[in-house]
Symmetry: C2
Subunit: 239 residues, 2 copies
């Protein structure tokens, strides 16, 4: 799994708005430019970091799609989340200076490496950046809350609908179509994430299709009736 390393700054990065939003004064831009140490390219199926691996940096996804996977003692594994461009990953490693999950690329990906000690330094100097980091972590906590809600109180249909709606929303926020998406993960990975078996995922897709809610061609999903889909899956909290 070959990986390349490049040198780059945030100030002239095209996707800056998504991961490090605007709003710093010009004065601080130079400090922010010191944030990224390098980039890494990960091939499809490649691993960004392993469970147990020493923690040293957070990563901003520039392109590509990742899954977060957690192993259990008895050999089972569960997907605990999917990440796409613009999102920051690796926050789990801060507590014990070790990562506690595997981060695996579902397609060829590029990430910016943000060494944690630099994050600490800049946080102390740039108030807006400090707040940004806190908000990132807090957002992650809130997101996980919603996953817990999903896994703890929804049925298969509701879970899958909520999953599709969540994906759609995140893609739409990144400028993609709001009625069409291509799944980057297998049915098994979706099932693992939703606490279902792959057969159940497949069946539920078929049922949705039969009822005219969506159109399914392999991993290509077309939303036909977003309204109805919402009614099935959107039990999420509004905030």
């Amino acid at each position: 799994m070959r990986e390349e390393t490049k040198k780059i700054a945030c100030s002239n990065c095209s996707s800056r708005t998504s991961c490090i939003p605007t709003g710093w004064g010009e004065a601080h831009l130079r400090q922010i430019d010191n944030l990224i140490s390098s980039r890494r390219s990960i091939r499809r199926g490649g691993v960004l970091f392993y469970n147990g691996e020493p923690f040293s940096a957070l990563y901003a996804i520039r392109t590509g799609f990742f899954k977060t996977s957690l192993g259990t003692e008895d050999g089972r594994a569960q997907v605990t989340g999917f990440q796409m461009a613009g999102e920051i990953i690796g926050l789990d490693g801060i507590v014990n200076a070790r990562h506690t999950c595997d981060e695996i690329a579902l397609e060829d990906a590029d990430v910016c490496v943000m060494p944690y000690d630099r994050i600490e330094d800049i946080s102390r100097e740039v108030v807006a950046f400090q707040r940004h980091i806190h908000r990132l972590m807090s957002r992650e906590i809130v997101r996980e809350h919603r996953v817990v809600l999903l896994l703890g109180s929804m049925r298969a249909e509701e879970r899958l609908a909520a999953f599709l709606l969540d994906l759609m929303q995140r893609l739409q926020a990144r400028g993609f179509s709001n009625s069409e998406l291509i799944l980057r993960m297998t049915r098994e990975e979706i099932g693992s994430y939703l606490g279902l078996k792959l057969e159940t995922v497949s069946r539920t897709f078929s049922r949705f299709a039969q009822e005219g809610l969506i159109e399914v061609r392999q991993r290509h999903i077309q939303i036909r009736d977003g309204q109805a889909l919402s009614q099935r899956g959107y039990r999420q909290i509004c905030y």
Copy 2:
């Protein structure tokens, strides 16, 4: 629900070690002493903060026991966690400056109020404190990961066993017995947290008791065979 407010400093707090660990130089103790603005006492059943309420502070639990509860659009609610003395709550509110869940006392409780702007200030001045806050948030993320794993891949028996073991471990870390505990929550709240119905929780308790793993008298639980219990529930990741 009457609540009292008192003024106090961390440096001479008996339970300091649990929420704000030692290790700051003497020089910084005075800054830390400025962290707590007041204390609040919450009666059993009282609410520390509501979903939607403006966020202004984190809270350190001095005494008492809380549950975190999330409401769904269609009126259902789910418990997403239980918190005990020494733990820090309210981290969910940072992202959007509003709390996204309800925090409810399961027994009379006392909390220290830590205004968020003071946390920001001290974080910038005391490196060890900054790191402490980051670790708190990261720990919360890792904990939630484990809950997701529990809900997504364990069966009723495993869930309840893991739940008991987790509680025991946290109580033991606080100096309580490692073979005996009193549940502060109802079967329904346990069920909600574990993604089960209260009847299932009750039945599973009974089964454990029948098999000699534990002894159940209402909310009083006696561990008889922790080893066996571990084998049932401990599929958690080791880290």
